[in-house]
């Protein structure tokens, strides 16, 4: 009888420990996934900031015409610049896809941020951009939409994970002001 009791108690305690270890393993996996997703999101947004800064700073490069900016809208910017430094003036556009076209991702808000140079195909990659807003300012710091008046550009960008972690989309948000030398 004593042995039977001991075996039963050991089985219960052993089972509890096994459950504990399994639960811990699951938590570890979840934590590792969360960290990986957050790292991806943060890496995506910093890459996008680097790219946008790089291109926006070149607005008007080698352009003699006064109209260096073609379109200045909340969700789209088109400008002239010799972006590839070959002596020919290029037209560069940045805009966010208008509607949800990424049907294969779980996030209902992610869109594609496009870069188009001249008439080449749209360049994009799914980095989980959920918001991309542009504001334009004149030399006095007043908001303007007049392409000729624009002296600096502010952009706000938000990136989210493509799928939720515990029902929540991990994200990051950043704003930057770019003052291209050729708009001064």
């Amino acid at each position: 009888m004593q042995y039977l009791l001991e075996i039963t108690a050991s089985t219960i305690v052993g089972g509890m420990i096994l459950l504990l270890v399994m639960r811990m393993n699951s938590t570890l996996l979840e934590s590792a996934t969360t960290i990986s997703v957050e790292k991806t999101v943060q890496s995506n947004i910093t890459s996008l900031i680097d790219e946008l800064d790089y291109y926006f700073k070149q607005i008007g490069y080698r352009v003699k015409d006064t109209d260096k900016i073609i379109t200045a809208e909340k969700g789209e910017l088109s400008f002239l610049s010799d972006i590839d430094n070959d002596g020919d003036i290029d037209t560069v556009s940045y805009y966010l896809s208008k509607k949800k076209i990424l049907r294969e991702t779980e996030n209902p808000n992610d869109k594609l941020l496009y870069r188009v140079i001249n008439s080449s195909p749209e360049v994009t990659s799914n980095l989980g951009v959920t918001s991309f807003e542009l504001s334009y300012y004149n030399g006095a710091g007043v908001l303007t939409n007049d392409e000729e008046e624009i002296k600096y550009i502010k952009y706000a960008i938000e990136v989210e994970s493509l799928f939720p972690i515990n029902g929540e989309y991990k994200g990051a948000y950043a704003e930057r002001i770019v003052r291209p030398n050729n708009l001064r």
Partner: protein, 171 residues
């Protein structure tokens, strides 16, 4: 108490220590990664202020043309009497008051603003401007110089350590 019981208890203690330390590691890693999001936004808020200050003139006396000697620069760093921003500057009508009112770099000395984002709590951004040695911007200048440094501090309830950014501007 038998030897088996003692061994079992020792094993339980070891298991508890292992689980507690693993749990602590997971928590620390999660907090560290979550803070990364707030740090990115904090750097962005601080960099925005620096970017804005960079669009202004070096000094109140260099608005139209540069000056030849440091004596011609303003002695007191800060906003002028006609530039009125009380307390924290708040983003209204798609702009901060500083964007329109301030006209030179050192107007940002003592300036404070609140940056609100929809992803996290408000960020408090404050700035200090000082004359620094042009050859060593980490060192304060004795008197005036042709180099001014802005130090921007960004705080947020979710940041364990405030984010500090610096930028030196020369005439």
């Amino acid at each position: 108490m038998g030897g088996t019981t003692l061994l079992t208890m020792a094993a339980m203690v070891l298991l508890s220590v292992f689980i507690l330390s693993s749990n602590s590691l997971i928590q620390t890693n999660s907090a560290f990664m979550s803070e990364g999001e707030y740090i990115i936004t904090a750097i962005s808020a601080g960099q925005m202020l620096i970017d804005e200050a960079k669009t202004k003139a070096f000094d109140e006396n260099t608005l139209s043309a540069p000056v030849g000697t440091v004596k011609e620069l303003t002695s007191s760093l800060g906003k002028e009497k006609d530039e009125v921003i009380d307390g924290f500057d708040i983003f209204k009508k798609k702009t901060f008051k500083s964007t329109i009112q301030f006209d030179d770099f050192d107007d940002y000395n003592g300036y404070k603003r609140i940056v609100s984002t929809f992803r996290s709590d408000d960020y408090s951004v404050s700035a200090l401007v000082q004359y620094v040695d042009p050859l060593n911007p980490d060192k304060s200048a004795v008197g005036k110089s042709f180099c001014k440094k802005i130090t921007v501090i960004v705080t947020n309830p979710y940041l364990t350590v405030p984010v500090k950014l610096e930028y030196a501007m020369i005439q």
